[in-house]
Structures are given as C-alpha cells and as structure tokens.
C-alpha cells in the first residue's frame, strides 16, 4: 500500500475520524485508524464499536491499493506538526508504516486491517435526504439537555422522531427537556430512535454545510452519509419517555421578556448563587421580574428586569444553569416563559413562532 497526499487534504478527514477513537481502549486495535486505498480514493475509519466514522479523500494518482491500521493519535499528531503544504508520502513495508514528509521520516507500528472491527448493521428501514443544516440545528438546539451517565440509560442520548413527515429531536436529563422540530417536511414513514450521546456529539461535528445528507435508520443503527463521510452509530435500546406528557398544559402565567437582557441578568446573579445547587429565586409581579441569588458566604445578588407580565404574584426557584442553557440556544429578541406555580414545570420558547420548546422543572427553595 502506498499513496501521496497533501497535509491539508489528509488532516481534515483524519481529525474527524480520530475524534471517534477513544483515548483509552480495551482492544489495542480500537486506538488505530483504518486506512484503505482503492484507486485514488482513500478511506479512513475510526470506531469505538458504538460509533463508526469513515472519511473519504482523493489522493494523487499512482498509488498502490491496500489497507492497514496505524495508531490514530500518533498519525494525527505527526500530520498536525508538519509545516503547511507539506506533501505526505505513506507506504507500508514488512509490517511497518512509513510516513515521509520533507526530510522527516516516521515509522509507525501497524495491525492488519482484517482485525479491524466493523459496526454490525441491520437493514435500513427508513431513508431520507435532508439538509445538513437542518440536522445540525436540531442537535444544537437540544443536545445540551441530554443526560450524562444517568442510570436511566435511555436518557443518555437523544430521541430522533419521524412522525407524519415531521423530523423532531428531543433530549431530557429528567430535570429539563429540550425539543426542536424541523420546519421542512420529510417524506418517510414513522420512526423513533435514541442516538447515544457520543453519536450525537460526533454527528454534530460533521455537519457544517447546507448540502444534503442521507440518513438511513435501521432497527439498531443510524447512518448519515455523503460523499465525504459515512457516519454510523448504534442506537440506545430503550424507550424514551413520552415527552408530550411532560409539556406543561396548565401554565396560565405568561411572561414575555427581552432574551439578551434576561440572559445577562441571570449570568450576573448566577455569580452569587450557591456553586453546587445554582439556585436562583424569581419573583414575578406586575411587569417586573425580580431575580435574587444567595450563597453560603451570605453574599447576595439581585436584578430587577422589566418584563410583560400581568398575572398574580409568583415566586419560584430554578437552577440558573438550566435557564442560561436555554437562553443561550434561543434566538430572537423576545422569549416567552409560561408558568403555573412554584412546583410545576415551566415552558420557555421564542415569543414569535419558534421551532423549539424547553421545559424546566423548578427548584424548591
């Protein structure tokens, strides 16, 4: 196996693929990247057995086909450290991989490509073409609410739901929930899958254009593919909570406020909130929101923000980080906060027609 490629051409797919590779592996080969050359097309594959990513790039003609695996991290570090516009010569000879660039020569250990595991795939049930930017928006607007290492394993991921031609993603950690629905209709059957946390974050890194991507949804995997890459993730085998039941229905108290002003006020009060619990107290009265925070050092922050509010007075506590997460992903000038009482969930959304809904449970103060 032998090929020649510019540093810049190699580094982009190599970086993406290496991102999937976990630093600490039980199987030595999982810290390697698989290189496969067919004609002028070089494929690079990284996997952690849950998520697999194949990146593709054209090399200069005149190579020799073949496949091999080499340590991913080391190859990335070597390529990154080379000067701009370096030309990289890669070859394999008697079980060793050789990387040559300028006057540098690096000999890397290898493991045979036949030992490289591939993610088992079931047959695809649903296929749809959708703009990358659409998927990216769904993830960006909801991923922050995914649980991390929760015993309720089905929360450590994101629900992707296809229903009546509508694509939606939902994430929740049991205290708050984020939901975003794509505006564009898709023509496909219904499906509901849970993409694991890592798969969501890796997929999000891949999506950076308006070009379309093909999503293939199987019974135990999802694949996203275009010319440059093929991303495959296993799915979380479990039942996602019925999120619609979590959406507040009796939230009769509505607050409209300036998003940036609120975000800044919360950011400032958060400084003097309890570092562990992050609680802030919201006091609503006619057209006024009073935000206060205390910490164990007896320090106190108070911000008074003008809002549109005509309901009865209400005092309610929240984890300020949850509120800030939402205010950071929303855009638009104004947001709407709907509440019923100090022990029931609150709904946050853009004041004008938005595609996203956020539910946050209060804190008992």
């Amino acid at each position: 196996m032998k090929f020649s490629i510019s540093r810049e051409a190699l580094i982009k797919p190599l970086n993406l693929v290496a991102g999937v590779v976990e630093r600490r592996q039980t199987l030595p080969i999982l810290s390697n990247v698989l290189l496969n050359l067919e004609g002028t097309q070089l494929s690079l594959t990284g996997t952690d057995l849950e998520v697999e990513l194949i990146g593709r790039v054209e090399v200069e003609a005149g190579g020799v086909d073949g496949d091999i695996t080499v340590p991913a991290r080391k190859l990335v570090d070597i390529c990154k450290s080379l000067p701009d516009s370096s030309q990289i010569e890669f070859s394999v000879d008697s079980g060793k991989a050789m990387v040559k660039a300028g006057r540098g020569r690096f000999t890397l250990s290898t493991l045979p490509a036949t030992e490289f595991p591939s993610v088992d795939e079931s047959a695809g049930d649903q296929t749809l073409e959708v703009a990358q930017s659409v998927v990216k928006r769904l993830i960006d607007r909801t991923a922050f609410a995914m649980a991390q290492q929760d015993v309720r394993y089905y929360l450590n991921g994101m629900l992707l739901e296809l229903k009546a031609g509508r694509l939606r993603m939902v994430a929740t950690d049991g205290h708050r929930l984020a939901l975003c629905t794509a505006n564009e209709a898709v023509s496909t059957g219904d499906a509901a899958i849970i993409i694991p946390r890592k798969g969501v974050l890796e997929l999000s890194r891949l999506l950076d254009t308006d070009e379309s991507i093909r999503l293939v949804i199987g019974s135990n995997h999802i694949r996203a593919a275009n010319q440059q890459f093929t991303f495959t993730s296993k799915l979380v085998d479990g039942k996602f909570p019925e999120y619609e039941r979590v959406l507040p229905k009796s939230a009769d108290k509505t607050v409209i406020g300036q998003r940036l002003e609120l975000r800044q006020a919360f950011t400032r009060t958060a400084i003097l909130s309890n570092e562990k619990y992050r609680g802030v107290r919201l006091k609503l009265s006619a057209d006024t929101l009073d935000i206060t925070a205390n910490n164990p050092e007896q320090e106190q922050a108070e911000e008074v923000v003008a809002v549109e509010y005509q309901g009865e007075e209400l005092e309610v506590g929240f984890n300020v980080s949850y509120l800030l997460d939402v205010l950071s992903v929303l855009d638009g000038d104004q947001i709407r906060l709907s509440l019923s009482d100090s022990a029931s969930s609150a709904l946050l959304e853009e004041a004008d027609e938005g595609d996203s809904l956020y539910v946050v449970m209060p804190m008992r103060l």
Binding site: E242, Y277, P296, A343, S345, M361, R364
Partner: protein
Amino acid sequence: MSTLRKIIHIDADCFYAAIEMRDDPSLIDRPFAVGGSAEGRGVLTTCNYPAREFGVHSAMPTSQAYRLCPDLVVAPVNIPKYREVSVQMHEIFEQFTDVIEPLSLDEAYLDVSDSTLFDGSASRIAEAIREQIKTEINITVSAGVSINKFLAKVASDWNKPDGQKVVTPDEVDAFTAALEVRAIPGVGPVTAEKLKRMGFQKCTDLRNAEARVLKRRFGSFAQTLIERAHGRDNRPVNTSRIRKSLSVEHTYTQDLKNGQPCFDKLPGLLDELRGRIDKGKLAPRIQKAYVKIKFSDFSTTTVERVGTAATLTDYQELLADGLARRDLPVRLLGLGVRLSPDFPEHFEQLPLRMEHDDY
C-alpha cells in the same frame, strides 16, 4: 455618614465574677475573683466590687492580690460556662437588632439605627436589653448609647455597674471636649504621657493641636486622635456572625389564660417574625420552627419542629403541644425559627414527571 446612627455598647459588669456569684450567692458580699491560682503564677481575670475595695484589680497576679486581701476567694476560670451565658446574651440582642458586633464574650456593639422598637428610642432599647438580661440571665450589664462606637463605648463605662449613659447628638461636642485623652481607645499610659507632655490632657486640647505635629509624632494614629477628639467615629458595626436563629417574643402585662387567648396572639407575633425573616432574606435557611412559653411560675418550655416553612399552622400545633405541658397561665410567648448555616437540602431540584417514574 449623613444620617445619624444609633449605637449601643453593652458591657457586662465583672462578667466572669458575676456568673460565679450568680451560681454561688455566698460569694456576693465577700471579696471574690476569677483567675489562675497563686501557685501557678496565675493572674486575675475579673474581680467583684468588694475585692476592688482592697485595691485588687483584673490582670493582677493572684499572689499579689492575696497580699492585698488575704480573705480573697479565687475561683478558676470556666470559659465554657461563660460562653454559654454569652450566647444567651447574644440571643437577647438578636431580638432587638440584626446588626451586632461581638467584641468579646461580654461586650458587643449594636446598631439600632433602623429599629422601630420603642419608637426608635435607642435609650429605651438599651434599657429593655439590660432589663431582659437581668431577669433572664441574672447578671447585670451596663450600656452606652450614642451616635458612634467610640462614644457608646466611653459612655458604657460612665454609670457602671448596672447603669447606662446616653450621649445625645447635642451633647456630643461638650461631652467629648471634657474627656481625658486617655479615654480614646488606643491611648495607653505611654501615649497619654507623651500627649500630656505636649500639652494635650483633654480632648479639647487635642482639637487645637496642629495635625502636622501630631502626624510627625504619632504617624497614622494622629488622624484617629483628631477624629475622636471631635467625637467622630465612622467605623460601622461589623456583623460577621452567621445567624443561627431568629425569634420574637412578648411578655404580657397580664398573664394570658392557658388556651384560646394564647392562640389569639399568634398571628401578630408571626407577622412580626415574618417581617424580620423577609428583611434578612432568611426564608431559604429555615430549618425548624419553635415556640417558647414562659408560664406564670417562670418555668419555661420550648417546642420545636423540623422540616417546616414556619406557617401559622405549624405554630398553632407547636403552641398546643407546649400549652399542654403545664396547666398554668402564660406570662411570655415567643415564636422563632432555627436557621441552617448553609442552604443544604433546601435547594431541591424537582424532577420532570415522566411516565417512567410513575410506577
């Protein structure tokens, strides 16, 4: 500081000795002191007034005190006991103001500028504090009342023991002018002697001093000297202590019948307590609610409850429990809350109600 402050300095009279005499009244009329033993080369920390007549004073080596007064009774120092009394005193202070700066076990500054008690009369607040300490703890304290810490402290010494002195804003100028420079905290025998040699014996002399001259001689202390000589002191009363409880109580001029008349008093007391909780923004720290009842025979009982928001219902139930303990009329009723130093479980993140959690 534009508005006039109202500062009270409270200073217990022969604190350690007073507590020992309270616990052993036979000591009252004899020369008595608290301190280390003569063998251990100890010194006296406090002595009562009969002992003082012999020339015995605090900080005097015990052996020397025995020479002056062979009949002197010396008790060992029992700090844990004094600390307990100090806490009781502090609890009384807290019923009058939140702004308390303890100086030692038996001394504290109180800022009552914002108090509405006794029509805002600091003098009457000081009287009430002294009275309450006398009846509840059975020791006497002296109080100084004025517009700043310096004058309050000087005044508390004026009518000692068991007395108080008010220096009103109008009196400040004349009062200070007549003070010996020695009265200014920080001026010890050496500094006083230096000042005397420079011709400054009283504060009024200091007022005419050239700042330059004082500065050269006393450095940064000169500024303080001049300020005090004019009766000025802008230092705030520093409260660093974290409040552990908050209470309001009322002694009734006529004992209340054990029963409904007591319950009738609850809403008013609770309103007052709530007001003080809100003012201190202490609601998140409430751990317990309690009711204190003093019966006509002066016996006292306290009923507490954890995990409460200190509502009227809580207090009604606590009061019912407390009243049932004695079949006597009630002299005093108090409502209080105990506070956690931190905000532990009070920040409880509620979960979303998802169907997975339902079963």
